[in-house]
Symmetry: C2
Subunit: 164 residues, 2 copies
DNA sequence: TACCTAAGATTAGGCGCCTAACTTCCAACC
DNA sequence: GGTTGGAAGTTAGGCGCCTAATCTTAGGTA
């Protein structure tokens, strides 16, 4: 691979990463959330109460990160942390009513973020976009991509069919 | 747009962002660099000595960020900071010999990062990959995408031609 | 000349994210 | 039943990145 291509690819991915996060930050700001926290909330909403260790896996970040995220979300009154009844080491995290009440607005911002992200597509179709980004994820972290596959099983099957 | 699509798109982009940065961190670690610093060095190498304000623009980050990056790179002995002769407010940053000596290894890691990133592509061709990611950048931050266009003028013209 | 807006840079403080090191507890094994 | 290896969680410290506020200087205008 030549340097020019590599440079452009790396730079562009970096910009997408930076700006996607910045957009998220702007959209989440008036909910009192910082980017990263929304993942935890969305996770708890769709999968139910979970131990922090499980959250770390499904949020694709390390235990210390989830530890801090969860602490601040608890202070904000959006989640509860209760020691597990079956494992004295584990802590089970769940949404509070305030947290659940936030999910509506949060989900609509989440959709808005994706819309803004895909708004400038001209030659690329939505399915193709998802396919390409997903291949990137698979390339950079097979384990994470696999977890994404499991989560979005039906859609990814559809994509497989249209590709083959 | 439905929530399932938005969720998958946002999550996947987030994972790509996280893992791309993690890969960069791993590759840069034994050069004594942290991700973010390489951009400054690459910038100085290709564009020559520049004021911090200019670096902030071309590195796509804010002045305080560049201020800290530059301070640490100076401590590391990779760059110099000298007050501008024409503007008493400005500081001109340049590579030292040690910094220049690092560019070879740095560029090869940069290529390696892009190779790893694109290694898992099956159905997507390199040009298509760049095109899609670039459309994402354009969508999220037109100004940044425009600056990328100027930087990689020839390649982006080629892409335009193959698309139209 | 004096003024005043804007630009360049820094500091302070906060966020997510990481690794390394530590504590507590589970569970399997001798 | 005591021992040991690993899992869950936290703390400490460091990184890039951000916004807001501050200071100094540049450069046009009254």
């Amino acid at each position: 691979m030549d340097f020019a291509y590599a440079d452009e690819l790396n730079r562009t991915i970096r910009i997408v990463a930076l700006k996607h996060r910045a957009r998220a930050a702007a959209l989440l700001a008036d909910l009192g959330l910082y980017p990263g926290q929304e993942i935890v909330l969305l996770e708890l909403d769709t999968l139910g109460p979970r131990k922090q260790a499980e959250l770390a896996v499904s949020c694709e970040c390390e235990p210390p990160t989830v530890s801090q995220l969860v602490r601040k979300l608890e202070i904000a009154g959006l989640i509860t942390r209760q020691p597990s009844t079956t494992d004295a080491r584990a802590i089970v995290v769940d949404l509070t009513d305030r947290g659940r009440a936030l999910m509506g607005p949060l989900k609509s911002r989440w959709i808005e973020l994706a819309e803004v992200t895909a708004a400038g597509l001209e030659t690329t179709k939505p399915d193709e976009l998802l396919s390409v980004v997903h291949e990137l994820a698979r390339s950079l972290c097979p384990a994470a991509a696999l977890r994404l596959d499991q989560r979005f099983e039906r859609r990814s099957e559809c994509r497989q069919r249209t590709i083959n």
